[in-house]
């Protein structure tokens, strides 16, 4: 009799688990919820607040996609992933998209069977050291202990950099940013290395950010972007163009404040196409006309999101730098909506 309890529960579990359909878009719509893989906690990019509500730069992208696809920016289930579990979570279908400051690299795009759909933050790997150590350049780090997050590209860059400069170091591997912070603050490592944006976010959370400096050397290119599973181009298009819509909206001056106004129709045909006043771009991706309006309304355009989560007015205080629009000398360049 006990045996049947076991099987019954398993059967019950199978019932509630739900069997996935053919495409990611159908799945998401059927589920009524977007499963979005995010960082376990990196202030500014993705972190839960005291009540477990997530916010941040990467989270805003999840919200925009949910708004575009489901019409409701709150219909997101955030799945915290570590450097270890993120790609498998995506490959296994546990998450529909990964927005966890992941670097777009050749082997990840090909061998790991991911599809990076764009870049939402151009970054590079840097070092943070204590001011009192007197170090002003990464070249002076010979023999240092370096804290590094495992499962990231930074691990390989670090090995390459020290080798190229004929220096030695002691890697102190850590599992999460929280642990890295603890070790670095306790002085267990001389330098903490990760993406420069991550360093800034980490430093902003210190009690004494002025006593820590980020070294000028950027030792790698780290284009961070959202990724989806390989092989579902329709879904990849949706995520890609949601990101592009946010970027383009900033370029054309569409903000969450004036979007209702502009959605009634403007002189600019490009804006009209983006906001679905003219033509029906949404239908081409399997969505409706207002998809981009909803996506932009969810958290504002790229610039607004940046300013609200990691920009100069926030404790993280990142400058736009490479992440300015191409018209401002940055690298952000959304392809035309046509």
């Amino acid at each position: 009799m006990k045996k049947s309890v076991f099987f019954g529960t398993l059967a019950g579990a199978a019932l509630t688990a739900g069997i996935a359909g053919a495409t990611t878009l159908e799945d998401v719509k059927a589920r009524g919820e977007l499963n979005c893989g995010v960082n376990t906690g990196l202030v500014g990019f993705a972190a839960p607040d005291a009540n477990g509500n997530w916010s941040g730069f990467d989270v805003a992208l999840c919200k925009a996609v949910a708004a575009a696809v489901l019409g409701d920016a709150t219909k997101v289930k955030y799945v915290p992933t570590t450097g270890q579990t993120r790609f498998t979570a995506l490959a296994s279908g546990e998450i529909d998209m990964l927005a966890r400051n992941s670097t777009w690299t050749f082997s990840r795009d090909t061998d790991l069977k991911l599809d990076f759909v764009g870049v939402n933050y151009y970054d590079g790997q840097g070092f943070m050291v204590r001011k009192e150590s007197g170090v002003t350049s990464a070249k002076e780090l010979d023999g240092a202990s370096v804290c590094i997050q495992t499962g990231t590209t930074t691990e390989l860059n670090l090995a390459d950099y020290f080798k190229a400069n004929n220096m030695s170091y002691q890697p102190i591997t850590i599992d999460s940013n929280a642990e890295g912070e603890q070790q670095y603050l306790a002085g267990a490592c001389d330098a903490y290395t990760t993406d420069a944006s991550g360093l800034a976010a980490t430093r902003a959370a210190f009690a004494d950010p002025e006593n820590h400096i980020i070294l000028p050397e950027i030792i790698s290119k780290e284009p961070l972007g959202p990724a989806v599973r390989h092989g579902d181009s329709e879904w990849a298009d949706i995520v890609r163009w949601t990101l592009n819509a946010l970027i383009a909206a900033e370029e054309y001056g569409v903000t969450s404040a004036n979007i209702d106004e502009l959605a009634k129709g403007t002189e600019n045909p490009e804006i009209n196409r983006l906001l679905g006043v003219e033509g029906d771009l949404g239908a081409m991706t399997g969505l409706d006309k207002d998809w981009a309006v909803r996506a932009i309304k969810a958290g504002g355009n790229y610039g607004e999101i940046f300013a609200a989560t990691i920009g100069e007015s926030t404790p993280i205080a990142l400058a736009r730098g490479l992440n300015a629009q191409w018209t401002q000398g940055g690298l952000l360049y959304a392809p035309p909506f046509r």
């Binding site: 049947s4 579990a13 992933t81 546990e94 959370a205």
Partner: protein
């Protein structure tokens, strides 16, 4: 001889001496001290060492506790309060973080207005295990114990009551079939008792559920698995894993005791494989590999996947505990069952298992304690366990950076209280069973 003796004896006492107090070395506190603390030089050295350890611990940790601050809004505020009260450089505990966030340690992100549900399940758990643990209680309570798992699932996750009710109906159906058909043929009864409920669940539940939900929408507000955290998560995984693993563990234990070569080898292979690998690798299987092993497109959420693997893990350990129980039964019990002409299953059900399970209970409780402690490892697959996941999450808040020991002590104390009482209970039971058997 007697003469010489009489002459040489100058004094013979002829009255009793008044009773005297025992020498103070042989009574009261002094005697106790001498016997228990200072018996011989080695013991004295040990006592002094022990005192030194106690002194060191007290002087190092007591001020920290005494300086503790219970109400503050951030670590920085704690530090200023401590500096104000006890002078610059004083260190103290910042219990304010526990004061503010205790509910997250206990419930994770479960909606606060629904806390009554996990609390009800927790109390119900005691009610459900009581008849198993305390034999004096009326046997009718076992019916509640059987119904409790489904009730707990419904209360914890919420949603419509009908799917759960349908699962219960399926069990009832299977049980009834085994009862009625089992009289004619055990095999037929067993087969029908398993096949019919499975068919019922697969094909009949969907439509019936749809109709009932339309007609009579009874349900609780659903709570998604990712809201689970802290001790709620640890107890759900631990208790759920043990409860689910019991039937599988019994089958494996019987399989390992079996005379049939293939069945025995399969059981041994399974048990030894699971016991030979660390739990953490199995958790990685849950998080990284399980989806490979299931049909394409199947997708359980991570808590369910972890529970499946934890169940398999616990089953191997439970099987070994029950095997110990089976082996401890006197050979005569088996022979007596044979002599009565009972077949294998009847003998197991009526004679062997009731006794074997009874003497296995202390072992099962110990396995549960181990499982409960091991649930903290789920933090490494991204779940919010009370030991690392929740504190890391709280420290991600600007206000509570730098609070370490407070979390360790709070969580450690809760683990200690729960596990210590369970292990005491297991020891009590063991002693009682020993008496019963003699």
């Amino acid at each position: 001889m007697s003469e010489t003796h009489a002459q040489s004896t100058a004094f013979v006492r002829d009255t009793m001496l008044p009773q005297m107090e025992p020498p103070n070395q042989q009574s009261g506190a002094v005697k106790w001290l001498r016997e228990n603390l200072f018996a011989g030089w080695f013991n004295t050295v040990l006592t002094l060492l022990g005192l030194a350890v106690v002194y060191w611990l007290v002087t190092h940790f007591y001020p920290w506790f005494r300086h503790g601050v219970w109400s503050a809004n951030s670590m920085a505020e704690c530090r200023t309060i401590i500096a104000e009260r006890w002078g610059e450089g004083a260190s103290g505990a910042c219990w304010a973080v526990i004061n503010e966030r205790w509910h997250q340690f206990l419930f994770g992100f479960y909606p606060p207005e629904l806390y009554w549900r996990p609390i009800a399940v927790f109390l119900g758990l005691f009610l459900a295990v009581a008849p198993v643990l305390f034999t004096q209680l009326p046997r009718q309570m076992l019916i509640f114990s059987l119904a409790f798992p489904l009730l707990a699932i419904w209360l914890l996750w919420g949603g419509s009551v009908w799917p759960i009710a349908m699962i219960a109906v399926g069990f009832g159906l299977g049980f009834a079939l085994i009862k009625t058909l089992g009289g004619q043929s055990v095999l037929l009864g067993m087969a029908a008792g398993i096949v019919v409920p499975v068919l019922f669940w697969l094909y009949a539940v969907g439509p019936i559920d749809a109709v009932l939900t339309q007609a009579l929408p009874i349900g609780l507000e659903p709570v998604a698995s990712d809201r689970f955290g802290g001790f709620l998560l640890a107890i759900t995984i631990g208790a759920g894993g043990i409860a689910l693993s019991l039937p599988l563990g019994i089958i494996l234990a019987l399989g390992r005791q079996s005379d049939m070569f293939l069945i025995k080898s399969f059981s041994v292979m399974f048990i030894e494989f699971i016991r030979g690998v660390p739990l953490i690798t199995l958790l990685f299987v849950a998080s990284l590999l399980l989806n490979y092993f299931l049909p394409p497109g199947t997708n359980f959420d991570i808590i369910l996947r972890v529970m499946i693997l934890v169940t398999l893990f616990a089953a191997a350990y439970i099987a070994e505990v029950i095997r110990g129980g089976l082996a401890a039964l006197p050979r005569g019990q088996y022979e007596a069952a044979d002599a009565l002409g009972l077949d294998y299953w009847r003998a197991q059900r009526l004679i062997i298992l009731p006794q074997a399970l009874k003497i296995s209970i202390p072992g099962i409780v110990s396995t549960f304690i181990g499982m409960f402690k091991d649930t903290t490892l789920v933090t490494f697959v991204g779940l919010f366990d009370p030991l690392k996941g929740i504190p890391d999450f709280i420290r991600a808040d600007f206000a509570w950076k730098g609070t370490y020991w407070e979390h360790f002590i709070f969580v450690g104390a809760i683990f200690f209280i729960l596990n210590f009482s369970m292990s005491r209970y297991a020891m009590y039971l063991e002693r009682k069973l020993k008496r019963d058997h003699r």
